[in-house]
Symmetry: D2
Subunit: 343 residues, 4 copies
């Protein structure tokens, strides 16, 4: 059994990790921490876990966590993991970070977008970017995995086949992305009250969103050339789901459908839909799948890719478990075969 710990278990990615790990056949949840809830039973905060998990929140103490855990997940806001990770690694506990701390390889870029110096810049080089569809082998060897953000997962999986094969102009990419409100996390805030966010739709962060440099970094790597990306996120009146509508300009002829199907033929969590499809976010709700469709209206130059994920699963906690499976020699799909809940 893999002994797993979770730091910061009171947010949405935390409870989702609990849902996935509690039913994982080869995992024992050894510890879950929360400064604010230390001492409370997990099932008090999350009654859906009653009968599934008899654990209490504890204070986050790196030494004890390292003793009790083979792997520690960070489901914390940015800035927490980078302070604790060195101690865990030093005791040979592996780390899967769901926060933004180790996603950007350049500490200067990190500081520009997060407004403070990075606390463990030397680890940025070692951290492996946890998108299994590009880094499956390196993830398996990694001590420290940085799970991609929710938008970056949906956007990169959609653009990768086009960029890796230089099929489109990398300088003219547009990602119009829509997310459910759970992307904003479980924190009391006016903007995501039901009365503010339901029956409403709006863009936000048009002038610049922290997921932009992360996406650009990944797309740059894929295309091996500078990337010009316009990224507009939108808040959608639903709980879970990301829908990325991607636009690119074709620069040579190809069979787009075949390109996508081949690229993801061996990826268990990327599903390329038949031509003409429109994936729905609910078709992946509660599951670790990303479903894609590729369109080229009127046989023109504009390629449109539709990419959907559950932002809390493939966009966060599910992908983290997928990474854990790879790191610990499990089947990649182990504990992740949930079927999306419809309706």
């Amino acid at each position: 059994m893999i002994r797993a710990g979770i730091v910061g278990g009171t947010g949405y990615t935390g409870v989702e990790l609990l849902r996935l790990l509690a039913n994982h056949p080869n995992v024992e949840i050894a510890a879950i921490t929360s400064r604010t809830e230390a001492g409370a039973a997990v099932s008090e905060l999350f009654p859906n876990l009653r009968g599934h998990l008899e654990l209490c929140f504890t204070e986050p103490e790196p030494t004890r966590l390292a003793d009790e855990c083979d792997v520690v997940f960070f489901a914390t806001p940015h800035g927490v993991a980078m302070d604790m990770v060195p101690a865990l690694l030093a005791q040979n506990t592996r780390v899967i970070d769901l926060s933004a701390d180790f996603r950007l390889s350049d500490p200067v870029v990190w500081e520009r977008w997060y407004g403070r110096p990075h606390a463990a810049p030397d680890l940025l080089a070692e951290a492996v970017y946890g998108l299994p569809e590009i880094n499956r082998e390196t993830i398996a060897q990694a001590r420290l995995v940085a799970c991609p953000g929710c938008y970056p997962t949906a956007v990169q999986l959609g653009f990768l086949p086009l960029l890796e094969q230089q099929l489109v102009d990398p300088g003219q990419l547009i990602a119009d992305a829509k997310s459910g409100a759970s992307g904003a996390g479980r924190k009391a805030a006016l903007g995501t009250l039901l009365c503010e966010a339901s029956e409403n739709f709006k863009a936000y962060g048009v002038s610049g969103h922290r997921h932009l440099p992360e996406i650009i970094q990944g797309l740059h790597q894929a295309s091996q050339s500078p990337v010009g990306l316009t990224f507009v996120p939108h808040l959608t009146p639903m709980i879970r789901g990301i829908h990325a509508t991607l636009y690119a300009q074709l620069q040579r002829e190809t069979d787009l459908q075949a390109v996508y199907e081949q690229r993801y033929a061996t990826a268990p969590f990327v599903d390329v839909l038949p031509p003409g499809s429109h994936p729905e976010t609910r078709s992946v709700r509660g599951s670790n799948m990303c479903r894609l469709a590729v369109h080229r209206p009127s046989a023109g130059n504009t390629v449109i890719v539709l990419s959907v994920t559950d932002n809390l699963v493939k966009g966060a906690s599910g992908q983290a478990v997928q990474n854990m499976n790879l790191m610990f020699g499990q089947e990649e799909t182990c504990g992740l075969t949930h079927i999306a809940v419809i309706p």
Copy 2:
């Protein structure tokens, strides 16, 4: 492996059966029928099943179904099962009916509420009412199980402990029940359009709802005396979930919390919450649990029971699988350990 068939697989209880059975360790889905979709792949209609199920809809033919299946589930509107069940039983295939056809033991009452004579009145006596919390042993022996309706499940589980012990006046029961829109089924209808049913709340069927005689039949059996029940269902702007708020008049003193905890001590799918709790429907969304809380405000005579279920799981397809487990000697919880999806 239990070979299972589903008649009428295109509705919400049908797709929910597929979600549950596709991941059940000891079940093989042998057939799924639909007159309108015969020939189509199940995953075309329900893309959440892509990669989980390689089955096509077929025409419903009792003989072939009986050959291929150890058990057949009916996820059909009322009036379908009663025509096909005799042929299946005759070939020793067992039947679990999710429709209303075999829920009422009296054919006269059935005819009054469903507007036509019952087609297999002789089977009404044999059919076992599939509420495991009262009929666990008889279900295990049954050839034909009639799964309770969604409202009747939530209401009966809430009232049973009070009535079985004659703690309340059986002549003065009120069940104010609220259901998500999936209770209306997957059929094109004005009243359950998003534009009609979201941002809206209303009662319906106040003058009489088909679940009323079913609830009364069950409560009568429990209390061994005539039952006076006022039942008001409401349409709630959400997809899944039933919340029954039950009112009864106490007629002798007792420790209500203890009564409930003891009554359901061995029921794996009924969870009695601590005193003072308010169960949320989302705490059971996608899971087979019923969560209950019992209140007695100001130590007065009125007992209030709050009972929540997912109408498509414990209120329909999950309970059907629970019955199947009992009928085929499986662990009662086998394939039913899903944790509710929160948020």
Copy 3:
């Protein structure tokens, strides 16, 4: 023109007052206060008001308010109005309080439910309870009107005809009430986040809610005898709307439909629906109407009344404007003829 001021204009009842008063033909909004937003333009906070209102929030100063206003509305949490009202009345400015400060006539009861002594107990006797359907004449003469709570409005309008004529047992009343999330106000809180409150339904406050003594006070007055009321509020996954399902035990025969129609024949904002109706909350969304239907299933002893309002209009700001109209000799319906927005 009536010069109106609003204290506490940043909450949902505040912005709703602005929506109603900005288009009222005989009102000029003279001042709107907010400690936290003083200096900011109202339309910055509420972009729906852009082009309709050129006002900035100011600090709440009673003297200046009294100078500038003929009437001041309090759209504040409880405990604010009772400190400021005496100064306003002293300068002959009339007050319409939407908070709970002057709803209960007994200061002892107020203190028990609100956890502190009342700051202006002498004014409790003078304050008129602002339910025009019972106090139309006294409201017209009042200096200080206490607007009813949202639940009390829907529940009292539903029960009044039965109790005033002693048609039902006043000791056995049940009010099962459902409210949209805006009833919780515009404040950052976990429980009313979209991710917590949508796709979810739950009861709350079963052991006792602050609207209970207010409802009992009103029903007692109507029935002239002690009232036994069980009140269970529920949080419903929508923004606006209250649906009260009321249960009472008939104690003498009568034509219930006629009783209701006669009782409200001259009430412009209470609409008794035809027999057999099920009022929908959306049929009053954004409007000041209360729609009622009365049922007696199977001609039994239980009467069921269905009562719907928009909690922010007839349950708060609309009723406040209705009171203002009466106090200042306007048509009762002036500025309140909005048609509910459907869909």
Copy 4:
């Protein structure tokens, strides 16, 4: 008083016309037709109109309509108006068509997109495209006005200032548009059931949507050069609202904010928000406003315009009333000063 008739009053644009016209100071609703509901009271179908409108549906008869009405609105599916309009015009009754019948000036294009020959091709040249922000003067003189579609309204108002001044490349336009479910109309259909469309987001019609030729026609006229437009509509889990996110490539420097403010300085229903704004659909819910914001991230070449409307008001019935006001010499804003309902 303008005597107005409505053909096809049972859909969402029909009931919205009723809401707006019933409170219009200078309009009398003279007739409302519906083949299916002829004889029924309007308020039976739409209880929000109880007390506001004492009209019954009648059969649609052109001669009687022409006798009784100065203007007739068509709130019908496409293909109805083109058969009846000639008779109405012949009797000097003016027509405002909310359907698609007269939006495209070229009958060949119309036939290609709507799959049948146009029944009144000669009237296509006379029909005035009812977007007051470009055709205010011609609308005032028109006998026949074709109201724009909901998407075309939001998209054109967003792009016009850029194209009219040749600021962007007209061959590289992208419109990523999101609509609430009411855009699909009031008809029983699986896809817009609450259980299918809520908690879900998807694109549709990527290969071609009927609003595409209409938008291209309008943008072509504005830019005076061929237009290359990629248009992707999405179904959003809410009732009302359109959010168009528009992308264009700048081809010369300018002060974008000033361009937009000047373009719409005299348009009462287009509101250009301050720089850096993100308009919300709810800020126009129930109102006739279009709110716009223009962005240019990182001072790059890509211009992003955010445009929101209520699809049933400015995108349909409100714009129709605005056109009527212009045609009958009323103030453009008469009867259209509703403030959006927030929350």
